[in-house]
């Protein structure tokens, strides 16, 4: 945690004069101290050790985001009757909390679908069109996120 913050500070500042390095060290210590006091280190941290393994998923998700952007753009410029707002319920099959959050966030990240509620393993989704809702019900995204967990 300390090392990540130190690297982050150096990358953002790009200066190596003692004053700025000192200020950086102090602020990092304060942040770490506050985080420890808040007991903020738990299983919900960003799993850095998994981030590399997730790369193929991010690439796939980026493609999906581009596709759904085009769909929403069509609705924006087309006639208003092209939209068919829908609400659906999905069952998340991920085992861990992080997996469910990644799934729910991925749904929201793709335009045209927004996660409205995540309770237990039930996800309530609002979709701009019935087609966008149907593509979620195919469960491909759910499956891909579940495979990340292994």
């Amino acid at each position: 945690m300390t090392f990540i913050l130190a690297g982050f500070w150096l990358l953002l500042s790009g200066h190596f004069v003692p004053l700025l390095l000192g200020l950086g060290a102090v602020s990092i210590l304060i942040v770490v101290a506050i985080a420890l006091r808040m007991d903020a280190f738990d299983h919900e941290n960003q799993p850095l050790h998994l981030t590399l393994r997730f790369t193929p998923y991010w690439v796939w998700l980026a493609g999906e985001i581009v596709k759904s952007n085009i769909d929403v753009m069509r609705c924006i410029w087309g006639p208003v009757s092209a939209i068919s707002p829908t609400r659906i319920h999905l069952t998340a099959t991920q085992r861990s909390d992080v997996g469910k959050v990644i799934y729910a966030n991925s749904i929201t990240l793709a335009p045209g679908t927004v996660t409205m509620r995540l309770k237990g393993n039930q996800i309530e989704v609002h979709a701009l069109t019935r087609a966008a809702a149907a593509s979620l019900q195919d469960g491909e995204m759910d499956r891909r996120v579940r495979e990340l967990e292994r």
Partner: protein, 109 residues
């Protein structure tokens, strides 16, 4: 080579700008709060990504590019959270989404 990068970068910037304007138009055109969220999603995702990629190409390899990458990463982590928080707050506040047809509304089925 610099020319090619310039052309690519300006294509990204202009496409991003167009998406941003479209997102705004969508927010004005769509009928209710929840559908407008989807239009705002265009601005959150592809528009921001294209503009940042365009700027990265202008910046070249270096610290500025690293900072732009950070902006991109944080934006892609926080924007879905913010959108979800908005939708959730609207639901809790008693706002009901419009539905295209009655049967799309599970609460009436």
């Amino acid at each position: 080579m610099a020319m090619i990068i310039d052309v690519l970068s300006w294509t990204c910037l202009l496409a991003g700008g167009f998406l941003g304007v479209s997102g705004g138009i969508g927010i004005l055109r769509f009928p209710d709060f929840f559908t407008r969220l989807h239009a705002a999603g265009v601005t959150d995702t592809l528009c921001a990504a294209l503009i940042l990629v365009g700027l990265m190409m202008q910046a070249g390899l270096g610290l500025v590019m690293v900072k732009l990458v950070f902006i991109f990463l944080f934006l892609s982590l926080t924007s879905p959270t913010a959108t979800h928080a908005l939708a959730r707050a609207a639901l809790r506040g008693g706002l009901r989404p419009l539905f295209h047809r009655e049967e799309d509304d599970p609460s009436k089925a």
